[in-house]
Amino acid sequence: MRRIVFASIATLVAVTLAWGAAQSGVLRYNSYMMDPVPRELDAKIVALFMERYPDIRVEHSSVAHEDFKQAIRTYLVASPPPDVLTWFAGERMRFFTRTGLIANITNVWQGSDWEDVYPVGFQSMSQDAGAYYFVPQSYYWWAVYYRTDIYDEVGLEVPETWDAFLDNCRALDAAGYIPVAIGSRYGWPAAGWFDYLNMRVNGPEFHIRLLDGLESYESEEVRNTFAHWKQAMDAGCFIDNPASYDWQDAAEFMIQGEAAMYLMGQFILDVFPADARDSVDFFRFPIIDPDLPVGEDAPTDGYFVSANAANMENAKLFIEFLGSREVNEMWAREAGRLVPRTDLDPNIYPPATRKGLEEILRRADYVAQFYDRDTPEELAGRGMDAFVEFMANPGALDRILADLQREAERVFAARQ
């Protein structure tokens, strides 16, 4: 009897020790949240996690967004790599699952309520070949942001159709305003225009097929997209020399009241001073072909665990915490971010976020990530160069598209 008691105590001690081991030690977390609001919240979430698991010491480092994107490869092949990292859903994540650098976290997904509360779209963007590798944290919408005071002064209505949009451009141009600001120094703001025009002209399905290499950049459909882009240029929509500015520089024109509109993500409001935010609103990118389903860009950010994480158990605990309702609610309430979980009361969002959800995303038939997240990264770089070049030199379209298509064929052939 005594032996049995002794054995049970020993077992209990061993189990406790093992359990304790799983919950102690270090966790290395690298994030790219450096803008004031998300950075503060990120730190708060880490602090809350350490409060919950006092034996785990989180080594948290934040790196500037652009630097993080370039350095992540070196982080992941370091030994040991960081345990948990922030990253982008979709193609950008799959690049690393293909190279075997992201841990399979299917058991975390199935051990929690995630499959019930994350919409199917978010589940599939977290997967590769049927297994889960990612947990989405938040997403944002793109829209045409505009100055309500300029619109009122010139007497304009929010355009629902392409023709109305072009008319607004002409009226604003005639009134001495820059109708549309765009700062394409780093390419991607021009890719926003391509995404929207291509989705509105050819439909989101064609768009995704093109970005997956199943359609040609030299097709009639894509030429038609560029023809619409040219119409906007001919209507005097765009600022001169867009490539001279980065996106914040160009937003300055809108803040100063010189430019009326800007096709941009939700984060544009972060660069507006508080008093200027009241005169800024947004509308859905105008419909061009009403018979097509409506696509929107809504890039999703989230987290993954390194495949070679030194502290795998802690990493899984942390990522489970990051996907919890509690953390989702903090992002929604405190940072105004749209969060993927559906078990939250939408009233916790600030009004602008609610409007984005209701008027942009709930009305969308299809949600894409963004050009440089949906198509292979190296092709995206060439594509964005091509869009910027087209805006500067529309006459060279044939050559631009031929070059881009050749590059696309090479990139997709290399993947086979």
Binding site: R73, D240, A243, E389
Partner: protein, 302 residues
């Protein structure tokens, strides 16, 4: 003396070892990489033969970048070198404040490339930049005098955003820095010019131009070689200014080989392809470096 002592050799071992590990090995490894399709992450890398080079020679961006490097070389071996020489000649004549002026002209050389790039990016900024603001006021003045110009147009000049201007604007910033360097090299060279020859020329009634052309300049020949070679190497390795000011944009109109290589290696994860670019750049540079080394060795032996 056929028997050489071992001591010098043993002293050389450590630096040679370090050199082999840090310079020779990486160079050879890069050359080997150029024949693979390595993506920088996966352990897998396949031998692809000359495929990277074939792709490179068919890549428009490569030719654009190479062309820009050559434009850079052409501008650099003419403008900053002659300006630097002119400054050196002027400041070598004991003008007033010559010490202050020498320091002032040399000062840009002290600044890091990144600092120069940031500073010039502000100068070139279309809205708030020094150049366009100055032009804006000049245009305004011209307009008030009755000329038909629109001051607002001055703010639309995209020095770094216009594909026709971007490369030239970057090279201009680089020139601003390089002049001081050339000046210092020539100032040092002028100290070695034999004054007796100059005096003799003057006695024979040579004009100042003749003195320079037939007496001073030939004596500066070793310096000129060094200046030219350094200038060419500077132009070929250009990266910092381009990366900070335009990242090669808009649409590669200001790209150079080093920046193109960086983009392929660290943004597109094409290590093999980037290595091929590096090899081409290396082959172009090696010719000039060989001339430089030959000259240096020759001078030391003299």
């Amino acid at each position: 003396m056929r028997h050489r002592p071992l001591a010098p050799l043993s002293f050389l071992l450590l630096p040679l070892g370090l050199y082999a590990v840090w310079v020779i090995y990486p160079t050879l490894a890069t050359m080997a990489l150029a024949f693979t399709d390595w993506d920088g992450i996966s352990p897998r890398q396949a031998w692809v033969g000359l495929a990277n080079f074939e792709r490179l020679f068919n890549d428009r961006v490569f030719w654009l970048s190479l062309g820009n490097n050559l434009r850079w070389v052409l501008v650099f071996i003419t403008i900053p070198t002659s300006l630097g020489l002119a400054l050196a000649l002027a400041l070598n004549r004991n003008v007033r404040f010559d010490r202050f002026l020498k320091i002032a002209y040399y000062l840009p050389m002290v600044l890091a490339f990144v600092v120069i790039a940031l500073m010039w990016a502000w100068i070139y900024h279309p809205r708030q930049g020094l150049i366009n603001s100055t032009l804006f006021h000049l245009y305004g003045l011209a307009q008030s005098l009755g000329f038909d110009v629109n001051p607002a147009a001055a703010r639309r000049i995209g020095w770094l955003g216009d594909p026709n201007l971007a490369m030239g604007s970057i090279i201009a910033a680089a020139t601003w820095q390089h002049v001081g360097y050339v000046m210092i090299l020539y100032l040092a060279g002028l100290k070695t010019v034999n004054t007796e020859l100059l005096d003799a020329g003057q006695v024979d009634g040579a004009s100042p131009w003749q003195l320079f052309r037939y007496v001073t300049f030939p004596q500066l020949a070793p310096v000129t070689t060094i200046v030219l070679v350094i200038t060419v190497i500077q132009s070929l390795r250009a990266f910092d200014l381009v990366y900070v000011m335009t990242r090669g944009g808009p649409f590669n109109s200001s790209n150079v080989l080093a920046n193109f290589m960086y983009i392929e290696a660290f943004l597109n994860y094409n290590m093999g392809y980037a290595a091929a670019i590096a090899v081409v750049l290396f082959l172009i540079s090696i010719g000039f470096i060989a001339i430089y080394l030959y000259r240096v060795v020759q001078q030391e032996e003299r």
